[in-house]
């Protein structure tokens, strides 16, 4: 590896550590730790949401998928973006109006029951850990390739770094690492896209004509159907992508880092523009990689295509751009896992410890200590799991996290805000039926069972045909909530009136 790569890596890593040091001086209360004291502006928070969302899966994975599979790779970009309309229209403002630190807080605005909070914490922790394993496995593979060190060493380096950010800097450090990373990532994307387009004198039609002959797929490369041949499977995946975001705890937690619903809204809008431009650019990266790097070189470096973007940077921008993009990819992974650790830790410390075990009577200091221990525990657990998950497919883990989020969290969030009759029993059955149906269906799916040896975890015929079970598990989550509600007589109309008024007007009692 060249000195340029090492120096750029060190610069970016030190920059993030300086941010963490600065933030640690500012993290005094649990509010600071969980939500940066609610003090981010809409624009800053929009950048941080983009930073949270544009994970290694988006940056490395989608560019690679487009490079290898043409249009089918672009499906992910579309699904991940439209998901923000669901967030903006249905979830962001009521969530900000009702919640304090976590999703469970928001659901608890309507139901006091501990079992509801416990179920919400359980699904938050499950989603965070699945998502994090995916990021860590991806990170391990990237660092392993770049620095030529063993996988386990690579995972440990990333794991220790993310633990430092969260433990010492909390949400303030995590937010600023996200912001810096979002800016660097967008800059890198724009430069690469510019260089690719420059080759074609900014004639997009010429780029399409060139890519048509650049791959072994010929003209089929430009049409859908190269990767996703199963119709229901494609629709099920698209359903998980568009509904999953509105239930992802580390994204939803970002709405508590601003002062009110208006700022939450403006941050979603900023994020939608940045993320949208980013996903348009993934097209130029993917096509560019297919043309200037070539299929065989991409798959040689990584069978999943994950190295397409860094390799393209090297091919058209030389070593410096390669070093810059690799360092940004590293920062991307760190920033995303830090956000995930924080959302998992807050569910442990705030919901399970603070509200259920201590019944809301824990002092600020006790809670802060608990949050830091929880962050440590979540980090260690996911590092250990990632060491065993080396050969699992990263895309499968990410789509599973989206699927659980869409099946377990989204139904209960929508019912809480919009359904008058909804009650405690319904909230618990919605979350548990969504969570477990997603987990069970995935464990019977082609991702886990394959007749071809080595293609999946176990050899055998899959019992359930869809790789991503959202098409079945999301309706089960909604149905579970509906049945749980109507079979229980309990109903609190008065409490719903309060929730409805507060969620829609943003009214809050002072001092609460």
């Amino acid at each position: 590896m060249s000195p340029t790569v090492i120096i750029l890596f060190l610069i970016i890593v030190s920059l993030t550590l300086v941010i963490t040091y600065w933030a640690s001086k500012r993290t005094q209360t649990t509010g600071d730790f969980y939500t940066a004291g609610g003090g981010l502006t809409g624009f800053q928070n929009g950048l941080a949401i983009s930073g949270d969302y544009l994970s290694a899966a988006s940056f490395l994975g989608i560019a690679g998928s487009i490079a290898l599979f043409g249009f089918d790779g672009f499906f992910y970009s579309i699904g991940f973006l439209i998901a923000y309309l669901v967030v903006l229209f249905l979830v962001a403002e009521p969530l900000r109006n009702l919640g304090k630190y976590t999703i469970a807080d928001m659901i608890n605005a309507r139901f006091d029951a501990k079992k509801v909070r416990g179920a919400a914490a359980l699904s938050t922790i499950t989603i965070s850990i699945f998502y994090m394993i995916a990021q860590l496995v991806g990170a391990g593979a990237l660092i392993q390739l770049l620095f030529d060190i063993p996988y386990s060493g690579a995972v440990l380096i990333v794991g220790v770094m993310m633990t430092i950010y969260v433990l010492f800097g909390g949400m303030i450090a995590t937010s600023w690492v996200q912001i810096v990373k979002a800016v660097l990532l967008m800059a890198g994307m724009v430069v690469i896209s510019f260089l690719v387009l420059l080759h074609f004198n900014f004639n997009i039609g010429a780029m399409f004509s060139e890519v048509k002959t650049a791959t072994s797929h010929g003209a089929d490369y430009l049409s859908p159907g190269l990767k996703y041949t199963d119709s229901l499977g494609t629709i099920s995946l698209m359903l998980a992508l568009v509904l999953g975001t509105a239930g992802l705890p580390h994204i939803l937690m970002r709405f508590f880092t601003v002062k009110d619903a208006k700022t939450a809204r403006s941050s979603v809008v900023t994020a939608t523009w940045i993320i949208g431009i980013f996903y348009v650019l993934t097209l130029f990266l993917g096509f560019g990689a297919a043309i200037f790097v070539g299929e065989s070189t991409i798959t040689e470096a990584n069978p999943g295509g994950n190295m397409a973007a860094p390799l393209l940077a090297e091919a058209i921008g030389g070593e410096f751009l390669f070093a810059f993009i690799s360092a940004v990819a590293f920062a991307t992974i760190l920033a995303v896992v830090a956000g995930l650790v924080l959302s998992g830790a807050s569910a442990f410390a705030h919901d399970l410890y603070g509200q259920i075990i201590k019944k809301g009577k824990a002092s600020d200091q006790q809670q802060m200590l608990a949050a830091r221990y929880a962050a440590l525990a979540v980090s260690v657990l996911s590092i250990v799991l990632s060491l065993f998950a080396q050969y699992l497919n990263v895309a499968f883990l990410v789509s599973l996290a989206f699927c659980i989020a869409a099946s377990a969290n989204l139904p209960v969030i929508l019912y809480t805000v919009y359904w008058k009759r909804f009650n405690t029993a319904g909230a618990v059955t919605a979350m548990l039926s969504g969570l477990f149906s997603a987990l069970i269906l995935v464990s019977m799916s082609p991702s886990v069972f394959s007749p071809v040896e080595g293609a999946a975890l176990f050899v055998g015929d899959p019992i359930f045909p869809l790789t991503n079970p959202a098409l079945v598990s999301v309706p089960i989550g909604f149905l579970g909530g509906y049945l749980g509600t109507i079979f229980s007589k309990e109903s609190d109309v008065k409490r719903y009136a309060e929730v409805k008024v507060k969620a829609n007007t943003g009214y809050r009692e002072t001092g609460s």
Partner: protein
């Protein structure tokens, strides 16, 4: 937020606001009606527009017809998804500003004692 509001404690606010009464008021009802009239049709529209893409690519091939040179309709439709997202985002923000005004008015009229809009 303002000094006047800070003088009221949380307890007082709880006692003075009857949320059922607010919910039953004509003012709140028409506010919710306006919101529903806006959010429901737009949500249905963007979900249909979105799922039309995988449904059409899975069950038909007519989107593969070239439009300009080697660019086929499927790319135009895909790009239209991005434009749709940005347009709807802008429309939502414009509309939400008028909802904010109505919400503030409700807080002012119905929950005058204690509380703050946030």
């Amino acid at each position: 937020m303002s000094t006047v509001n800070e003088l009221n404690t949380g307890k007082q606010a709880n006692e003075t606001v009857d949320f059922e009464e607010v919910e039953e008021s004509e003012q709140f009802k028409s506010f919710m009606q306006n919101k529903k009239k806006f959010i429901i049709p737009y949500t249905i529209f963007f979900l249909i527009f979105y799922f039309l893409l995988p449904v059409l690519t899975s069950y038909t091939t007519f989107l593969n017809t070239p439009l300009v040179g080697d660019i086929s309709w499927v790319w135009v439709f895909a790009f239209a998804q991005f434009v749709m997202t940005w347009v709807l985002c802008t429309i939502y923000v414009k509309k939400a500003a008028s909802f904010d005004n109505q919400a503030d008015q409700i807080i002012k009229d119905q929950m005058h004692n204690g509380g703050e809009s946030s």
